[in-house]
Symmetry: C2
């Protein structure tokens, strides 16, 4: 079954939820164009989520996907956190920041009963999760809203696990994809495959529709995903320069067509591996460190450096999330990008 059949939408394009670089504006534009727009809710409070869902309702009757992280909230680890701040101390000094007076960074809270309440009030057509699925009682509350449930798999095992728990579609997240890796059964990054290998193996292993994610930047990529058995695609990076996205100026500047050639997986920004364009913090501290605080605790100590850097036009400490193919990034309206992606389906 294609994603169009599953959701009753004209185009096989899901806009990937991208926390930090977009809100309802981008989601609305993609849905209005005939794809599935997505609202990243990982950094939203219940009140902010309610506001965003209401804004979406006002502007479109089409389906929208609301995405949550469902990591286990880590136990505080003051010693690890102190060591992390000590590692960053030279950067605080260079940036003129007082390490004793750092504000808390943005939180990324896992899906919760409070957020489920908001979904019950303003039910979206699709609710998707990253890092597996929430606890059964919470998942049941999501289902009770009538929403279809999607989640990401980075391995065939994860896809089978998700299918066994009744998801309505699986996003096969190839290693090319930008942002956080969605793995949840194993932290072994070596076990994760490129889209070309992962997608057909997941398609072969499960019966639910599979969306391809990772490395898709144009209509040829969408056609290739279809050839490999995808029921649709999820595309993120390609939307980052859209006027409807809230991508920062330094991030936009970094998103050249060649940028995808110099990404890496890094955990220095949040504590979990995510793919971004290499910048100073990744080069000097990472890209992958075993001593980073657990997700999302690493972020708090980095955020002040990021804020200061961006205020001076530098992306040295900013997570410049991007996949391995940035050739589709254009400052065009999201509707135009969405239609162009779908034109060879």
């Amino acid at each position: 079954m294609t994603i169009q059949e599953l959701l009753g939408i004209p185009l096989p394009i899901v806009q990937a939820p991208m926390a930090g670089v977009q809100g309802s504006e981008l989601a609305i534009a993609v849905t209005q164009a005939g794809g599935l727009g997505s609202l990243p809710a990982a950094t939203l409070t219940a009140e902010a989520l309610r506001r965003e869902l209401a804004a979406i309702r006002e502007r479109t009757t089409g389906p929208v996907n609301v995405n949550f992280f469902c990591h286990a909230a880590p136990a505080p680890d003051p010693a690890r956190d102190a060591a992390w701040r000590a590692l960053l101390a030279p950067y605080y000094a260079q940036s003129g920041l007082d390490p004793e007076a750092l504000p808390a960074g943005p939180t990324r809270a896992p899906f919760s009963a409070e957020l489920a309440d908001v979904l019950a009030e303003l039910p979206p057509v699709v609710v998707s999760f990253h890092f597996g699925l929430p606890a059964p009682d919470l998942l049941e509350r999501v289902r009770a809203t009538g929403a279809k449930v999607f989640s990401s798999a980075t391995t065939v095992d994860e896809a089978r696990w998700l299918e066994a728990r009744g998801v309505d579609a699986i996003i096969a997240q190839g290693l090319e994809a930008g942002g956080h890796r969605g793995h949840f059964l194993s932290e072994d990054l070596d076990a994760q495959a490129g889209t070309f290998a992962l997608l057909p193996q997941i398609v072969r292993a499960v019966r639910v529709p599979v969306l391809a994610a990772g490395g898709i930047a144009d209509a040829r990529g969408v056609a290739a995903a279809r050839a490999l058995g995808a029921s649709g695609v999820q595309v993120g990076t390609t939307y980052l320069l859209c006027p409807e996205a809230t991508t920062s100026a330094v991030h936009r500047q970094a998103l050249t067509p060649q940028a995808g050639e110099s990404t890496a997986l890094t955990n220095v920004f949040t504590g979990r591996p995510a793919r971004g364009i290499r910048n100073r913090l990744m080069r000097e501290l990472g890209p992958l460190r075993t001593d980073a605080p657990a997700f999302p605790l690493a972020a708090a100590a980095v955020t002040p450096l990021r804020t200061k850097g961006e205020s001076e036009g530098r992306g040295d400490f900013s997570p410049l999330w991007a996949g391995q193919n940035t050739t589709g990034c254009r400052p065009f309206p999201a509707a135009q990008i969405t239609r162009a992606l779908a034109e060879s389906w």
Copy 2:
């Protein structure tokens, strides 16, 4: 231009040269079926190469590709080598091998004037290289035979470098591919992309035909590669169970349809990163170590362990090269595999 047009062959399938698991037999079968068979010459002496080329001549008039490694031969480093053997000492003890009496392992010699002489005697239609290109004088001798020259790129930069030196086709080696990574401009594995991202970016960057490699295991994969702009594909893993391959019994046994889900890049077998199915040596020592002797020197110390293990039916110390998609591996004749791969082109 498709590979069929470039070489005058019926099918867009290049059988990947795989040193250690095949010789002329597999190459002949693929060429006879209408693809481009490949003879891996990395471990052949000049005399053995002459013999293999003569065997090919006897059996087919179709084009064959002869593949060479062109790494810089490393300077001997006795201290590093001794440390490597010390690391392996417990395994020698367990295997009942005398570390003082270890035979030399198989050599992987870079392309040389002596090998170029053999090509001049028995010129193949295609000569391909892994790890870049040989020195200009040697490359000139290859060209003088009339052979078309192919080489692998793992990044867009490498593809541009190869095109600038006049190669006739570029193999875009996605990170999914089995065996040795072909990188030669940078050792940074993070810079290497999956096929889905790498292939279209190389196609976009160069004008010569580009072959897709990595993760292609069936006709859908071949069709997807075509959608992404490939002029043909190079497939290796999928041929490993063919009767014409010389794949060892332990290697064949490891090549289940699921095996592709548990590969990793490792340098413990040869000193260079290569993708294989995880086994004991990779798990216990690797997969990637900074103290492994330079390619190909790491191999000599491991080979006796491998030989002993295989004689007892164990692949604990064997390089079980495979890509991230082993779902196409079947014990079918290579001609059948070749035709099946091409059926949706």
